[in-house]
Subunit: 209 residues, 2 copies
DNA sequence: ACGATATGAATGAATG
DNA sequence: CATTCATTCATATCGT
């Protein structure tokens, strides 16, 4: 497995606007998360219980993930939405109105293969904890203890922690040296800058900050 | 009762190969529908107009199909998704150089007459029972036929603009449906579209670069 | 054995 | 939040 397609170069906009004629649709501009980005996202999702990050959190997260490749806020937003939705959906298909039973047998082996396991080549004893979005920086704020709600049902209260500053310079979180480099901050230009972002979502937008 | 009524014998597909043809022994990862399963799926698709079964239907369908071989909910789900998508895709090309179809209201049962032809096995008379999808005792279960038949559009429009038609059918409805966002630079662009403004993310999702 | 095609699976992006 | 669409990847199967 490891469907991770080849190292997606972040140039992303590579193809650019399907040249040819007007009508520029950033084709192929679908964000392709890198393994590291996915790893982190899952960490946030499972370890931190983040399910529907708020605008601020989204920004922070995306900022942090940007270290690993191009990414925008909406990507993070959609990622969480999808991940959550799919998890639920899976349950919906498999779990038929099953009465509360204790046997833990048949209830699984159905949908998602669940964590694809991002096997990075890290040492067997990694433990790069403290990666919680919230820790790493200021001394004061610290993870408010995860609401320990992995089992869902917490959906609405995930706004426990507050500031998640992404102190990039701490030089701390560098727990694993990513293998294939290319990370870097690439100056990705959007060829089609006409409507690249400011107007992509629903077209509206605004002023509000 | 024994909900776990899984016909163990089917397992990989061993016994299901009664088609008298090939395909026997393929323990691979991916689900390989048996001829019977395909037959039924197509029946549902074409005869019943099922295109996007909902969770419950999926459960029922998969339960029924399980008689013919191993199958899980997700398989059914994906099957319909793919079938629908591919049919559309295929048609997209077929209808490419044709008169601008007027796209009348496709609000009726009329799945295109193309492809039905389910070449089933040699069995001269298969005769699968009627519809007994309903497996539970509870009432309410009925033939899965939920032909909603939303035509979606055979729109052969250029790319993927969903039809932005304001239902103007003669009058039995007064719903104005518009929503699509995305400002395009396309010639057709004119009506539908625009803001949705949901004040929750947009501002945040968008980020400065 | 390959290469082409069909089709299952996965997931980003949207819409309602 | 549920549902749906589009795209792409992975693999099975078939043709030559």
């Amino acid at each position: 497995m490891d469907p991770q397609q080849q190292p997606a170069n972040e140039d992303a906009s590579g193809g650019s606007c399907k040249g040819g004629s007007f009508l520029c649709r950033q084709s192929s501009t679908r964000w392709t998360p890198t393994t590291d980005q996915i790893r982190i996202l899952k960490e946030l999702y499972y370890n931190n219980g983040v399910r529907s990050p708020s605008a601020e959190q989204i920004q922070k997260i995306s900022a942090r993930l940007r270290q690993y490749g191009k990414i925008e806020g909406k990507n993070v937003f959609y990622w969480f939405q999808n991940h959550k939705a799919r998890e639920r959906q899976k349950k919906r298909f498999t779990t038929s109105s099953d009465v509360p039973m204790q046997r833990s047998s048949v209830a699984n082996a159905s949908w998602k293969p669940e964590d694809p396991l991002i096997h990075s080549n890290k040492s067997p004893s990694i433990n790069h904890t403290g990666y919680s979005l919230a820790s790493s920086s200021s001394a004061g704020v610290l993870p408010v203890g995860q609401m320990g709600n992995y089992g869902y049902g917490s959906g609405t209260m995930e706004k426990s922690f507050r500031d998640c500053s992404i102190s990039s310079s701490g030089g701390n979180t560098n727990e694993v040296s990513i293998s294939h480099g290319w990370v870097g901050i690439d100056p990705y230009y959007s060829s089609c800058s006409f409507f690249e972002k400011r107007k992509s979502l629903h077209g509206a937008l605004d002023e509000e900050q």
